[in-house]
Symmetry: C2
Subunit: 205 residues, 2 copies
DNA sequence: TAGATTGTTAATCGATTAACAATC
DNA sequence: TAGATTGTTAATCGATTAACAATC
């Protein structure tokens, strides 16, 4: 099978969410034009995206809603629950713990770590913030393979060194730190400062 | 002058931040190889990016640090302060108000709005949450042209209609709502659910 | 059969990389 | 002058779009 492009992967979620949120249910089928309009993605691109995963539609009819929703869920791996560890119990970290929509996707933050003694031991969204020095031990014990990194730059070096020693599969990096880990750890970087900065820059250019 | 590519704009901020945070100052010049390594961007791409804005470097020497930092600041438009309005005083919104790094860039959230009566009137990070029905009035009065949208999906339709009537320049859309506004409003969408969802999807593919 | 719509192939567009002449 | 490094041009890569044959 051909390699699925990065850009396609990012769009799968939009298709999925649109189907999930659209409870009008009644027409059993939805065509690429309709789903494309709702998600703001051209229908031809949508069809191409979906075709990477085999024949998902029905010629002359469109895509069967339930079927497509379930297939997408399965492809994205959110048909099962995932436990996630959060490193950094600052403002952003705390907001993420309380963010309901992750849970709707079966994504649960069940461990919270920080290196700030003021934060360790406190309760955030029902979980007690642990000392980051127990990170490795705790992730291995609970078999957690996904990490959200929401630390401040100042704390980063120490924590990045620790991360290198743990067998994790994926990191959602919300910090400004640049991670140079093992090739086979999936990393998505979401740099809020950079994003807002780009907005101002675009305004100016 | 040639149109600056989207991708270039996003990278300018990395170059800028790297220079700003690197207080080792001592060598007056930094070459594209060094700055490229620090930011994780190939030096040839970096040079191409910068060249869109004229001759920024000095052949045989590299880029003069202060000069480049200031030019970038000027190009991005963060050499002056910007006031920003936040719509949505939920978990994410509150975290953004308290986020120090925006202020370091001269970006200040000075108005906060919500449509939830429980939130209106409360204080978040020193500012009182206003009723979103005063949005237009308040932004015009204070001449605010930049909006951060951090609302829940449920509230979105009403608020988006309101946004259409206001003369704003840029929106940083952290909600899952799809905005179809005037062509000349700059919009950057940062969809946290989609981003974390893509991470799980990449793990699976 | 006629109409609708998918899935695929080729063409286009945009972004990155490689190569290197210009020049400090 | 020799070495270093920029800025630019051409080549490559990857993503989107247009066109359309296949088929329900």
């Amino acid at each position: 099978m051909k390699k699925v492009p990065e850009a396609t992967i990012r769009r799968l979620f939009y298709y999925y969410r649109c189907l999930k949120n659209d409870h009008s249910e009644s027409p059993k089928y939805i065509c690429s034009d309709t789903l494309g309009n709702k998600t703001g993605i051209k229908s031809t691109l949508l069809r191409r995206d979906l075709s990477f995963f085999g024949h998902m539609g029905h010629k002359g009819k469109g895509y069967q809603r339930d079927e497509l929703e379930n297939k997408l869920k399965n492809i994205m791996g959110i048909d099962q629950q995932h436990e996630i560890a959060l490193i950094g119990a600052g403002n952003i970290g705390k907001a993420l713990v309380k963010y309901k929509k992750f849970r709707e996707l079966g994504l649960y933050i069940t461990e919270i770590f920080d290196n700030d003694l003021d934060k360790i031991g406190r309760r955030v969204g029902g979980y007690i913030v642990k000392n980051v020095k127990y990170l490795k031990e705790s992730l291995e014990k609970n078999n957690i393979k996904i990490v959200i990194l929401a630390i401040d730059e100042e704390e980063s070096d120490e924590i990045i060194t620790q991360l290198q020693e743990i067998d994790i599969k994926a990191i959602w990096n919300l910090s400004s730190a640049q991670l140079d880990l093992d090739q086979n750890v999936i990393i998505i970087k979401e740099d809020l400062c950079c994003s807002l900065g780009s907005l101002i820059c675009k305004m100016n250019n």
